[in-house]
């Protein structure tokens, strides 16, 4: 058994190690070391907790058993999961943090003596507020992440679910959570506690169902942030520095990522939250589409164009992830490089379904990270490039965002692929992207559409080069 002061120092150390873990991610070179700091911080926190509680009994054995069960499940998932499924995995993990926060809050409410918070029926007011906030945010994180998981996994349709009066209903439910917390604090009654948690679960679902597939990167980042605030709320209840620091770190991290994602789509955070974007209603230019001629080609034509180019920029998107085309793509690029063609990759901030999704997939296919560029770093190079190879991306290349103020995606930063001498577009059909906007690029003189599955087409091109 170690003193409370000593354990507080150790919790502070593990909090600092967590900061270093995030700090390590500033470059790929230091990132692995950063992850080790994170693991070390976690080991310290867990060990110190055991030593502080100090009473080693049968329950300790059970704690280890449950720890190992969870750990084995986690390790199994971590090794089995394909990189393309990373968004679902992260959403799933968020839901677990949220639910764990709810469970810890319930334990603290049922047995406040264990946490020095008072006795049942007479819990300290501040602690009660803190644990209610932790439980409410945790519950919202849990049910919201479950919905996000189902949407990303494709079990639930990615299109927004809206109903009249939705925002009013959400607002009222949101207010009712605060009202319930107020009554809970004045009466200490258990039924208010349970109803508050139940309503928080409900609002989590209602908040995420109206948000469409294209906005998923924002949703994941936002839930990441929520899971942090839930942890911080519990940290205040338990008076634990490691949890407070971590909660604040994770909370601000998720908030920054949401901001970056919103900026990548030129949408305000509130319009994303209010949802309804990316439905079928916004497809407006159907008539024009039918009349415009489209130049389509096959793998041979594409191979010819690529072979005769001196520089190529690859623009990957979600379609590449779906088709698992990253390895085939890398093979194609290797072949091009053998012919002394300069190849680089351009990644839009919101390409894919989560922040940095494309980078991970390219890294998985052994693409060196110094060949992969962000929007701002590469956008000027398109004008001096022979071929842009767009694979599975759509909205992020649409020039309409620069020209048509009527368009829902107007003002969104896009990759200037149309400035290349020619554009190759690998896509299964002419259907509009997730934003529901027709891509003007399809009908340009210098565009050649390659209608096929991204992986198959890429493989065919390799054969023809």
């Amino acid at each position: 058994m170690i003193s409370a002061n000593l354990s507080a120092i150790f919790y502070l150390i593990s909090g600092i190690l967590f900061i270093l873990a995030l700090r390590g991610l500033s470059s790929p070179e230091t990132s692995r070391q950063g992850n080790l700091f994170g693991i070390l911080g976690m080991i310290i926190a867990i060990t110190v907790t055991f030593l502080t509680v100090g009473n080693f009994s049968t329950s300790t054995i059970y704690v280890f058993i449950f720890l190992l069960i969870g750990g084995a499940i986690g390790a199994f998932i971590a090794f089995k999961i394909p990189m393309t499924a990373m968004p679902e995995l992260v959403a799933g993990f968020h839901s677990l943090v949220g639910l764990a926060a709810v469970f810890v809050a319930i334990s603290a409410f049922k047995n406040p003596e264990a946490f020095n918070l008072g006795i049942p029926g007479d819990i300290k007011l501040a602690s009660l507020i803190e644990m209610s906030i932790g439980a409410a945010v945790g519950a919202i994180t849990f049910s919201g992440s479950i919905i996000a998981f189902l949407k990303l996994r494709g079990i639930m349709s990615g299109s927004p679910i809206t109903f009249p009066g939705q925002h009013i209903v959400n607002l009222l439910i949101g207010i009712s959570i605060f009202v319930l917390i107020y009554f809970l604090c004045s009466s200490q009654s258990e039924s208010f506690f349970w109803s508050m948690i139940a309503i928080s679960f409900l609002i989590g679902v209602l908040l995420i169902i109206p948000i469409g597939g294209a906005d998923m990167p924002v949703v994941i980042s936002m839930l990441n942030s929520y899971s942090g605030w839930a942890a911080a709320g519990i940290g205040f209840t338990l008076e634990n520095t490691a949890l407070i620091i971590t909660g604040a770190l994770v909370g601000s991290s998720g908030a920054i990522l949401s901001y970056i994602m919103c900026k990548g789509m030129n949408r305000s955070f509130f319009s994303v939250i209010l949802g309804g974007f990316g439905g079928d209603a916004s497809v407006s230019k159907d008539k024009k589409k039918d009349q415009k001629p489209v130049k389509s080609g096959n793998a041979e034509d594409a191979a010819f164009l690529l072979k005769n180019a001196s520089s190529v920029i690859i623009v990957p998107g979600y379609g590449m992830a779906v088709a698992q085309a990253q390895h085939a793509l890398r093979e194609m690029v290797d072949t091009l490089k053998k012919n002394d063609i300069k190849v680089s990759y351009a990644v839009h901030p919101v390409a894919g379904r989560m922040p940095g999704h494309m980078n991970v997939l390219l890294a998985e296919a052994n693409v060196p990270y110094d060949e992969v560029f962000e929007l701002d770093d590469i956008n000027n190079d398109f004008a001096n490039t022979d071929v842009a190879f767009v694979i599975g991306a759509n909205d992020v290349t649409n020039p309409v965002a620069k020209t048509d103020p009527q368009s829902p995606i107007f003002g969104m930063p896009v990759l200037d692929v149309e400035k290349c001498k020619s554009v190759l577009f690998v896509k299964r059909s002419l259907s509009p992207g997730y934003a529901g906007v027709d891509n003007e690029l399809f009908y340009r003189e210098n565009t050649m559409m390659l209608f096929a599955d991204a992986k198959k087409m890429t493989e065919d091109i390799v054969k023809n080069i």
């Binding site: 919790y11 900061i19 995030l22 500033s26 790929p28 990132s31 950063g34 994170g38 911080g41 867990i46 907790t49 509680v53 300790t60 059970y62 704690v63 720890l67 969870g70 750990g71 499940i73 986690g74 998932i77 971590a78 990373m86 995995l89 993990f93 677990l96 943090v97 764990a100 469970f103 810890v104 334990s107 603290a108 047995n111 264990a114 980042s221 899971s227 942090g228 942890a231 519990i234 940290g235 338990l238 490691a242 949890l243 620091i245 971590t246 909660g247 604040a248 770190l249 994770v250 601000s252 991290s253 998720g254 970056i260 940095g356 980078n359 991970v360 890294a363 052994n366 990270y369 962000e374």
Partner: protein, 102 residues
Amino acid sequence: MEIDPFIFRFSIFILAIFVGYYVVWSVTPSLHTPLMSVTNAISSVIIVGAIIAALAGSSENIFETSNIFGFLAIVLAAVNIFGGFLVTQRMLQMYKKKKKNK
């Protein structure tokens, strides 16, 4: 007048938000996915609360309601800790500098 200990914890909280703000802005965009998975893993430090809850109470009755919720929270958090750190490590391994032999 004594300062409520809550204020000290609140100060730590606010300062940590600022630290988080500056640290996360310095994360390179290509590592945003590992950032999310590692923040996931570290926020599972909530397991300390779960362990305290699970170990609380008398040794005769180790499965009171509050203990059961503690044990459940341990399983959830452990999935996240192991899963989160390992999957982050797996991703970061891919970002190793490749030898250019072509």
